[in-house]
């Protein structure tokens, strides 16, 4: 169950760049831009991929010895980050809507705006296997069933197994 949201979120997140990279302005309308910066600003920003370090620290943690690299991307972020809300997507787990923050062409943050965690019933189902009820007879040692009263015991399978008279 704990994987359902991350998996759903990542699946949807994976689609967002596809929408964004679709050529043609017509697609812009389909995307609900929450905090889109002016187009002009986007053009003036140099390509981030070569110069800006990753904000989601993949660098080894050295106990704050690299404050410079931590600072640098934050100032750039304010200029070039775009936050885009994806469409609400119906999944088998419920409705999922993610918000993606882009730095240049890179996704730097994904946040679930809507996740189906309000419905735990649906979420947990993949934990369980489903099948149709069968009726069988088999050699067994004992029977588990709803609390048998002493009265009901006389006719029960367990009584037969116990050899009770």
């Amino acid at each position: 169950m704990k994987w359902a949201i991350p998996v759903a979120v990542l699946s949807v997140a994976g689609l967002v760049p596809v929408w964004l990279y679709s050529p043609g302005a017509a697609h812009e309308g389909e995307i609900n831009e929450v905090a889109a910066p002016p187009a002009q600003e986007q053009q003036t920003v140099p390509p981030a991929t070569t110069t800006a370090p990753k904000t989601t620290g993949s660098a080894p943690k050295t106990g704050g010895s690299t404050p410079q690299t931590q600072q640098a991307p934050q100032t750039q972020q304010q200029q070039q980050n775009r936050t885009v809300a994806g469409p609400a997507v119906n999944t088998s787990e419920g409705t999922v809507q993610v918000q993606v923050t882009l730095q240049g062409k890179k996704i730097v943050d994904v946040k679930a705006l809507r996740a189906p965690n309000s419905d735990p019933t649906r979420m947990a189902l993949p934990l369980l296997k489903q099948s149709a009820l069968k009726a069988q007879s088999a050699d067994i040692d004992t029977v588990s069933g709803a609390t048998a009263t002493s009265e009901g015991y006389k006719q029960s399978l367990q009584a037969a197994l116990d050899g009770a008279k």
């Binding site: 489903q130 069968k134 040692d141 069933g145 002493s150």
Partner: protein, 246 residues
């Protein structure tokens, strides 16, 4: 020496099947169950439970055993949002749903501590097994079919563990949801496998009280494998359930 014995205690037929124990050991286990009935039955006026319910005992005066039982009741009541409760409004304190599995598990522990390595205890459909009935074979625990009294819906192969089932087999019976006071619907039968019957039995009862919500709730309980039949005769089972192929 093998011992087989059935005695009716707490209104339940309790079967003990010892493959390598003796009659004295079996008697010790039955004596404990009788004592537990005397101490915890809400139907006996001089039981500790009845005296607590009448206000003759304070929390400080309770035995550690009753404190343990009441703690289990509280835990499951909180965990189910009140669907499971030992204190139905308008009725007295009734911890029976916890006491039965808890007391039978302790009886099983006494058998094990007494040196018995292969046994099966069945208390009104709630089961504790230990070891193997025959070398190389697990205990075959059949789960009663919810509609057909003489048929099984699944057979589990269990070596050391507890299996409990909560179900309604006949029309007219009902279990109330402690949250609403209304009869539970949605589920026909809940079977829980755990390493402790107090947990297996209470989890099964609490899941049943939750109705459909109990399917996932039970599956998420730590250390529990479930086999649940809903009203549509759909079966939900844990991937780790040790289904025995006959």
């Amino acid at each position: 020496m093998a011992v087989r014995r059935v005695e009716h205690i707490m209104g339940l037929p309790i079967s003990v099947d010892l493959r390598d124990g003796d009659a004295a050991l079996a008697e010790r286990a039955f004596a404990w169950l009788r004592a537990a009935d005397a101490q915890f039955s809400p139907f006996k006026p001089d039981s500790e439970v009845s005296r607590l319910d009448r206000g003759e005992l304070t929390r400080d005066e309770l035995t550690p055993d009753l404190v343990e039982v009441l703690s289990l009741c509280d835990w499951y009541e909180q965990s189910t949002g009140g669907a499971f409760t030992a204190r139905v409004p308008g009725r007295g304190l009734d911890p029976c749903a916890v006491v039965k599995g808890w007391a039978v598990q302790r009886a099983a522990d006494m058998l094990r501590d007494g040196g018995c390595t292969s046994f099966c205890v069945n208390a009104g459909g709630d089961v504790v097994v230990s070891g193997e009935p025959e070398p190389g074979k697990p205990w075959r625990v059949g789960v009663r079919h919810p509609d057909l009294a003489d048929r099984l819906s699944v057979v589990l192969g269990v070596r050391d563990g507890a299996v409990a089932t909560s179900a309604l087999y006949e029309r007219g019976q009902h279990i109330l949801d402690g949250r609403t006071g209304k009869p539970v619907s949605g589920i026909l039968s809940v079977t829980v496998l755990s390493d402790d019957l107090a947990i297996a039995d209470t989890t099964a009862t609490a899941a049943f009280a939750l109705g459909r919500d109990g399917i996932e709730w039970a599956a998420e309980q730590e250390g529990c494998e479930v086999f649940i039949v809903d009203e549509d005769r759909q079966v939900y089972s844990s991937p780790g359930l040790p289904v025995h192929i006959c």
